[in-house]
Amino acid sequence: MTTASLGRWLSRNMGFSAALLLLAILFLTYNSLHPRGFSSAVAIQNANETVAIAFVAMAQTLPVLLGGLDLSVGAVMTLTNCVASEVLHGSPLQIVFGVGLTLLTGTLFGFMNGCIVVYGRIQPIIATLATGAVAIGLALLIRPKPGGNVDDDLSWALTNSVWDLADTYGFAEGGEAWWIRPFADIPVPFLIVVIVATLVWVPFRRSVIGRTVYAIGSAEGAAYMSGLPIQRAKIVAFTLGGFLASCGGLYLAIQTSSGNADIQQAGAYTLNSIAAVVLGGTSLLGGTGGAIGSLVGAMILRVISFYFRILDIDPLLQPLIEGLVLLTAVSFGVFRTLRVRNQLDLFR
């Protein structure tokens, strides 16, 4: 990359770059303060607790790029979490089937959201407020009380390091093969997020449908006049959102070995996903940003909460401090407006 194009990339991705920098600072400081900082164990624990919100934040990114909001992402995560807690056990084939069923549930739910928004012509925020309640209702039917049965090996293998994964399933010489050694300490949950983000987001960003999603958020009229597949793009965006939310739900079931139709939790995840999307540099007006930014945003939110474990702060102060940190982080966006010399640019 030449200096000029790097400069342009930075100026167009100010929000994302700032988020990345903030995350690096927060994460390094956290590990320096932590008595066992920079160890695999801490990394694994952190990664495990970040997966669900990371997926939900990526799910939220798609409707936001369209210029809407999806209030059902947390609920879809909860629903799929409950589904997973029922089906992730038995023979390997049954487990694979269970994984498929869980992901299918969320994907179909997202598809339904998309159809309601497109064919019902209902604004996303209100449509998903309703379908979110439906998702919680279904979750409660499936799992009136917390609990569940998740395969122990699966749970262990996917929530630890790459070495543990190889050891559990006995491949790569039980984790001792030369080619796996360099990766042995990497947390599996981190890999899962990176792989899903790469396999889903990168192709999406470079497809006509993906481009249409950005075009709709930026200028829907122009997108229509250009002959872009607007309805299909909206449906795909919500469907993909549902899929990503179900990845979160699935992982939560594996991590906790259970399902829980917790309404408060669903709501908190939805609101945090919006915060993560904004932190990651995606505009709530739509048209600019991306899921990778939201992933970084989600990580920032989690790292902030990790600080409460190692610093002696009254837990009752946690929401207050989290709120202030969020406000500070989001106000970095103000720097953009200080450089504006044509005040009309503020409104574009």
């Binding site: 481009r211 250009s226 574009r348």
Partner: protein
């Protein structure tokens, strides 16, 4: 005249379209042949937009049939029309601001590798198409939002070309272009004509239509009046067909210059005004009762100058005196409420001039809430009075002042913008291309209004991309080049030749 193929590429038979019972098109028979450049003429509201919206699949006709190369077609969406080879460039640009130029040019059918968009091939394609429209200076990787209006129109043209049209519709597509770009577009259209493409050209600039088209069709009040070959009728006859009556002189007469005009204290004085790289020391005076034009190629700082004077830009250097007081207004609010009030009719009426979804009444009052309030509340009686005054003064034709302003035609929308500012009784009026995309009749009304306002003692600073307007309306013209005034012309010195020469900065000041 060049012989054209006999089967029309597009043929309308008895097409009608109504909006809430109001006729937009009625019983229109219209045909357009391959290899022709067909000009569509008519005032705003004559049905031109409806005609092309039906052709391009945005609207469906209520009655009648449309044939494309002999086959009956009915387009449900713009996508379907595109697929059939009908490409339309709308006046409201169809570009997506947050995507890059290259993305926009290949928006619906990008080059792909393994099913994914091939960005490099896409940039190459954009470079080729931009070169074809002689806009190599546009970076395909730049975002469309970073471009000026005239560059966007050229991108729009490159995008249309890339779709390999059989029928190309240009709806006011040249309204913001510089004369060099217009020449390029003429060349392109002639190339396409040689390749058998039919172009429909809609423009309010008579001389463009005259220079380019081989066939003309006139529409009036939703009906097709007549189609004839260019040269069969004089300009005067054409205008009569368009408005259904004779027109008097296009521009109102200029008063003879008072000899003391120069010596009197100007109402607006600008000395060495600069802003970033766009304005590099502008000197300018506008006196009471004067219309001063801003000329030059597009993008030489005219728009920035108007914005700077209206307090929109930050970090502006230089001395500005407004009504004897020095200092640049700090914001539009300050500019319009100072002792010497200023008003700006902005470049883009749809985003900066109007709140499209709000009512005509609310838009009219937007600049003068302070004048019609009693404490924190609006004085409804005063508001109604102001609204009916404003509507009467500009002869704005509306059903109900409570209707959203977007239901008005372009010309009437622009009148609302002007009426809004006249309500604050401004002393200095800044006009940024106020007649862009407006029909002949309304243009004339605006010219007359400008002169009336000047005669009342207002100072008017008027930017226009149309030389004929500058020549016809202005007492003086300052031509900008590279953010500076390079030539000042007065009275009978203002001619098309002198303006073009000054715009290109080839110094004929002695002329």
């Amino acid at each position: 005249m060049q012989a054209t193929s006999d089967t029309p590429i597009v043929e309308y038979q008895g097409i009608s379209r109504y909006f809430a019972g109001i006729r937009a098109l009625e019983g229109v028979h219209f045909a357009c042949r391959p290899g022709s450049i067909h000009g569509i003429l008519g005032e705003n509201g004559a049905g031109k937009s409806t005609l092309i919206k039906i052709m391009s699949g945005v609207l469906q006709p209520d009655a009648g049939t449309m044939r494309l190369a002999g086959r009956t077609v009915n387009f449900a969406t713009p996508k379907a029309a595109n697929a059939a080879g009908i490409v339309c460039m709308f006046q409201e640009l169809s570009l997506v601001p947050d995507l890059s130029v290259a993305d926009n040019i290949s928006i619906s059918d990008p080059p792909r590798r393994f099913g994914l968009i091939d960005r490099r091939a896409q940039v190459r394609r954009a470079e080729e198409l931009l070169a074809a429209v002689r806009c190599e200076e546009i970076d395909p990787r730049a975002l469309v939002r970073e471009l000026s209006l005239s560059r966007r129109q050229m991108v729009e043209i490159a995008k249309a070309l890339g779709r390999k049209p059989k029928v190309l519709i240009l709806d006011e597509a040249t309204s913001a272009l510089t004369s060099r770009d217009v020449e390029t577009v003429y060349g392109l259209l002639k190339d396409l004509k040689a390749k058998g493409v039919a172009s429909l050209f809609i423009s309010h600039r008579m001389h463009e239509v005259d220079a380019l088209c081989d066939t003309l069709s006139v529409f009036r009040n939703g009906r097709h009046i007549e189609t004839f070959a260019k040269g069969d009728k004089s300009e005067r006859e054409i205008v009569r067909l368009m408005i259904g009556r004779d027109v008097e002189a296009q521009f109102p007469p200029k008063p003879s210059r008072k000899p003391d005009a120069k010596t009197a204290e100007p109402l607006l004085g600008v000395r060495s005004l600069s802003w970033g790289k766009r304005l590099n020391g502008v000197d300018l005076d506008v006196g009471r009762g004067e219309i001063v034009g801003l000329g030059g190629l597009d993008g030489q700082g005219q728009k920035e100058l108007l914005l700077a004077l209206f307090g929109v830009l930050r970090d502006v250097d230089g001395d500005v005196t407004v009504g004897g007081r020095s200092g640049i207004p700090s914001s539009p609010a300050a500019a319009s409420s100072a002792a010497t009030r200023m008003a700006l009719v902005p470049e883009d009426r749809k985003t900066e001039g109007l709140m499209l979804g709000m009512s005509i009444a609310d838009n009219l009052l937007a600049a003068s809430y302070g004048r019609i309030s009693k404490g924190p509340f609006l004085d409804m009686a005063a508001a109604r009075r102001e609204i009916s005054d404003g509507l009467a003064k500009l002869q704005i034709k509306i059903g109900d002042a409570a209707d959203p302003v977007m239901t008005l035609s372009g010309g009437n929308q622009q009148k609302v913008v002007i009426a809004k500012w006249l309500m604050i009784d401004p002393d200095i009026i800044l006009l940024n291309d106020p007649t862009r995309g407006i029909d002949v009749g309304t243009k004339q009304e605006i010219y007359r209004l400008m002169r009336d306002l000047a005669n009342e003692g207002k100072a008017i600073l008027f930017y226009s991309s149309d030389y004929a307007e500058l020549i016809g309306c202005c007492d003086r013209v300052s031509v900008l080049y590279g953010g500076r005034v390079v030539s000042e012309q007065e009275g009978s010195e203002i001619t098309e030749e002198s303006l073009v020469a000054a715009s290109l900065n080839i110094g004929t000041e002695a002329a």
